[in-house]
């Protein structure tokens, strides 16, 4: 996008989205700036040692103290300018640039870190349908028979507005142990501080980790679409489609949870019925009714 230099009407005083985005790019480029730093030979043995920045933006003051600080800043600047004849001026890049250089890890380190993360994913299992009573100690004790549990990390529910079962990521000592747990828990229903719903185990995936590192070689280019662009309408349609799909997804989740609720109630009724039967039998045995009836009918209930 080019603009006529003297065309003040188009430059204008109204910043549109395009201007804002151009400014965004300009900000990135302009972040590569430097400061003039005055260094006094008498105060510093090395020329590279910075004394203080020559200038800084004076923020607006909101109180008397801030005003005094602003005055002190201006007076400090004046002192600096007054002593310019005895100083040398060096160009030193801003701390942001240096920090950016330091923080930008070399590609090899990033790749190594990502590979380590992949290894971690391989030896991690995803546990689902956990009881609310399950804690890290319970998991370590329960899975201790399969191997050594290195780390336990529960996955909180932050987005689904319904009560869903608890899930967790469990890192084992090696990949073999992780595979063994998955195979064992898939073959037989495994209860962990709760019954009769079994715990489900799956191999972990990359997207399950909230603190996963970025893919080293990925380059992301985002497009900021203006209202005049033909894709703007398509993008709005995509937004509406996403909202609709999200609503459908939540509706499906709610339906599935309702089905689970039905199964839960059904099993609870079954368990209560069995409990009543057991209670009645125990009552007959304790009261001696069964012995009396046996003697009357001439039956032998003992094993003798």
């Amino acid at each position: 996008m080019t603009r006529h230099f003297f065309d003040r009407a188009s430059a204008g005083h109204k910043s549109t989205e395009a201007n804002y985005l151009i400014e965004s790019r300009t900000q990135i480029e302009r972040s590569k700036k430097y400061f003039w730093i005055y260094v006094s030979p008498a105060s510093s043995p090395r020329l590279g040692h910075a004394k203080f920045p020559h200038f800084s933006v004076s923020p607006p003051a909101t109180s008397i103290a801030a005003g005094a600080a602003a005055s002190e800043r201006r007076s400090a600047g004046q002192r600096g300018s007054g002593s310019s004849s005895f100083c040398l001026r060096l160009r030193v890049y801003s701390p942001h640039r240096a920090l950016r250089a330091n923080m930008a890890a070399p590609p090899e380190d990033a790749r190594n870190a990502y590979n380590e993360f992949l290894e971690k994913v391989k030896r991690t299992i995803f546990l689902d349908n956990l009881s609310p009573q399950v804690t890290e100690a319970v998991v370590k004790k329960a899975l201790g028979q399969f191997g050594n549990v290195v780390k336990f990390e529960s996955i909180p529910n932050l987005t689904i507005p319904y009560p869903i079962p608890q899930a967790a990521l469990v890192e084992m000592e090696n990949e073999k142990q992780a595979k063994g747990i998955v195979a064992e828990l898939t073959s037989y229903p495994f209860m962990m501080s709760g019954m009769p719903r079994p715990v489900r185990a799956k191999p972990a995936k990359i997207e399950m980790f909230a603190d996963r590192p970025a893919l080293p070689d990925r380059k992301i280019q985002v497009r900021c679409v203006e209202t005049s662009d033909p894709d703007f309408n398509v993008a709005n349609e995509l937004k509406l489609l996403y909202k609709r799909q999200n609503a459908n997804h939540l509706a499906m989740v709610k339906h599935l949870l309702d089905e689970e609720e039905k199964i839960h109630k059904k099993q609870e009724e079954t368990l209560q019925g069995n409990y009543k039967k057991y209670e009645q039998i125990e009552k007959l045995m304790v009261e001696g009714t069964s012995a009396r009836l046996a003697r009357q009918y001439g039956l032998r209930l003992d094993d003798d």
């Binding site: 009560p163 019954m195 679409v225 799909q245 089905e259």
Partner: protein, 597 residues
């Protein structure tokens, strides 16, 4: 010393715009009306972001631009205050995107800063109900970055809706909304005498051959002998310049003079178009006149104002005399002849003078060179104006609209905000951010993105620092859409981010537009479905056996119930899988319609 590097390679492209005048005690301070950096034009009274090391950039309005003798560029900014900076003085809840204009006298009103502190432009709209303030349209309000209708007096620390006539020596109309007509109006900013000195227009050169030649021609053609004062000569030159310019818009004087010469002007312009090579030379030579005329006009107007004469009536009389005594076509022919003579004899004309006269002629030649260079600069500026109508064609307009979409390369942001000494648990941080109003929920991300990549995207598109955390993909999460919680530093930043993302359109590489909302979704506790209490009838040994975790044995009621749960989960998984597959197909179908994906 490792950081020492030549900054010329990294320095952005910079160019000053229109010059306003000179100032200072020695008249060596150059004042400008605008400047351009990296193809972005900043003008006087633009609202800008100013660099701030501590957090969000400051918002200010440019009221003065100048360059010092040591080539340092300076800018004077009048500040706006954000609501969070005035928490102790605000008695009510500020509006969304509201800021406050600084007024009064004292610290905090305005500052003189290096030009490098400007990091971007922003749009600030005034919504004050006042006759001096043109009311903004709904579109302007919607697209504005900030709005203001109140002021903060930095002297009395009060917030009010009263606007003084002048703020920091500038008329209040330049701080309010302005129409297109006001953009070209001349500014009336007074210079700071303590620091910079008075602002003086550029003086006109005393040795100007063209007015003298024109006077001689006028005398030869029996024009009434005008006074030898410089004022009248300047008037005559200004009229001729009005007739030469192809742009007919301008002062009423020019309109009057152009009425009689429409045909000639059009014919001259057509000739210029038909003969590109020859016409360029002639036209460039003709453009030498307006440069001098502009200076003459400035001096002329100053003298007229100082003398108290009625300039318009006087100029009209002169124009009528000129029209009656000397036809326009004759004058144009003479000017063409003069231009061609100058062009043809310019090289040979200089050499004899240097050889014959010596020091005096060399000074004159140097002076001419300076004038020519200045004229060429102005001519270059003028030719760009001529190219203006070409950009108004519909094809160019369509091309321009299509190219408005910007593709931004996401780059790593500086991680200065991340603390390595103490890290709060993420759930606690979310709760805290929710209370402070700085939490934003971003949706429709690529599920494979990492938290750091989301932070980079936000920084690149919105220029806001944040901390992000991707939502893990668990059982009931939609695998087609990624979600993330983003924590900004301030509530204003969060509001700005929500506004920008939802009102605009940011497309990710996979074609998904970003969506966001504020706040944390209230979620209930974990479910206990399927986990029945069996403590009623189990013995102590049995309860311990259950808590130690075990595999269920076949032919038991526990095993049957477990199998029932397995079946239910399998059916649920298949249902979700089918739904997500259908949704993915639908998304893919719509994304195919994106043209420049």
């Amino acid at each position: 010393m490792d950081h020492l590097e030549d900054p010329s390679n990294d320095a952005p492209r910079f160019q000053w715009g229109k010059k306003r005048g000179v100032g200072g005690a020695k008249r060596n301070f150059l004042f400008y009306e605008s400047f351009m950096i990296d193809n972005i034009i900043y003008s006087l009274y633009d609202s800008i972001y100013a660099y701030n090391e501590l957090g969000e950039p400051h918002i200010g309005k440019i009221v003065k631009l100048w360059q010092q003798p040591d080539n340092k560029r300076k800018v004077k900014l009048v500040w706006f205050f954000r609501p969070n900076e005035l928490n102790n003085y605000l008695e009510d809840t500020p509006l969304e995107k509201e800021i406050f204009l600084a007024t009064g006298e004292g610290a905090g009103l305005c500052n003189i800063n290096p030009l490098e502190v400007i990091v971007g432009k922003c749009s600030v709209i005034c919504t004050l109900r006042d006759e001096r303030n043109p009311q903004p349209s709904n579109y302007e309000l919607e697209t504005a970055d900030y709005i203001f209708y109140r002021t903060f007096n930095v002297q009395s620390f009060t917030i009010s809706e009263n606007f003084d006539e002048k703020i920091a020596g500038v008329e209040v109309k330049y701080f309010l909304n302005h129409k297109e007509d006001q953009l070209d109006s001349k500014t009336e900013v007074k210079a700071d005498t303590d620091k910079v000195g008075p602002l003086i227009p550029i003086p006109l050169s005393t040795s100007m051959p063209d007015p003298l030649r024109i006077l001689e021609n006028a005398e030869n053609n029996s024009i009434k002998p005008a006074a030898t004062s410089f004022k009248k000569a300047a008037d005559i030159v200004s009229k001729l310049s009005g007739q030469c310019l192809p742009d007919k818009r301008g002062s009423p004087k020019m309109e009057i003079t152009s009425e009689g010469g429409n045909v000639e002007d059009d014919s001259v312009y057509d000739k210029n178009i038909s003969h590109s090579g020859l016409v360029d030379g002639k036209y460039l030579k003709k453009m030498n006149i307006p440069a001098q005329v502009m200076n003459a006009t400035r001096l002329n107007k100053n003298e007229v104002e100082s003398n108290g004469c009625n300039s318009s009536s006087h100029l009209r009389k002169e124009s009528s005399e000129m029209r009656s005594d000397a036809p326009v076509d004759k004058i144009l022919k003479r000017m063409d002849t003069n231009a061609s003579k100058e062009a043809m004899s310019h090289p040979s004309f200089q050499k004899p003078k240097m050889e014959s006269n010596g020091a005096g002629s060399s000074k004159e030649i140097l002076h001419l060179h300076k004038n020519l260079s200045e004229n060429r600069n102005l001519v270059d500026g003028k030719t760009k104006i001529v190219d203006g109508p070409e950009k108004k064609s519909p094809l160019l307009a369509m091309t321009k609209k299509h190219s408005d979409t910007e593709v931004l390369q996401v780059t790593r942001r500086p991680d200065v905000d991340k603390s390595k000494w103490f890290k709060m648990k993420w759930e606690d941080r979310i709760q805290k951010a929710e209370r402070e109003g700085t939490l934003v929920f971003v949706e429709n991300l690529d599920p494979s993105y990492a938290s750091s990549e989301v932070e980079d995207i936000i920084f690149t598109t919105l220029q806001l620092s944040c901390t992000a955390q991707m939502v893990p993909q668990a059982t009931f999460q939609n695998p087609n859409h990624g979600q993330a919680y983003v924590i900004f530093k301030t509530r204003d930043a969060a509001d700005l981010a929500v506004s920008k993302i939802n009102r605009g359109c940011i497309l990710l590489p996979n074609g998904s537009p970003l969506l966001c909302s504020k706040g944390l979704l209230e979620v209930p506790k974990s479910s206990i479905r399927g986990h029945l209490s069996v403590n009623k009838f189990l013995t102590r040994e049995a309860r311990m056996a259950v808590s130690t975790s075990h595999c269920s044995q076949p032919n038991t009621i526990e095993y049957e119930m477990a199998m029932e749960w397995r079946l239910s989960e399998e059916l649920a998984g298949r249902s979700l899988k089918i739904l997500h597959r259908e949704q993915a197909d639908k998304l893919k179908e719509v994304k195919k319609r994106l043209k420049s994906k």
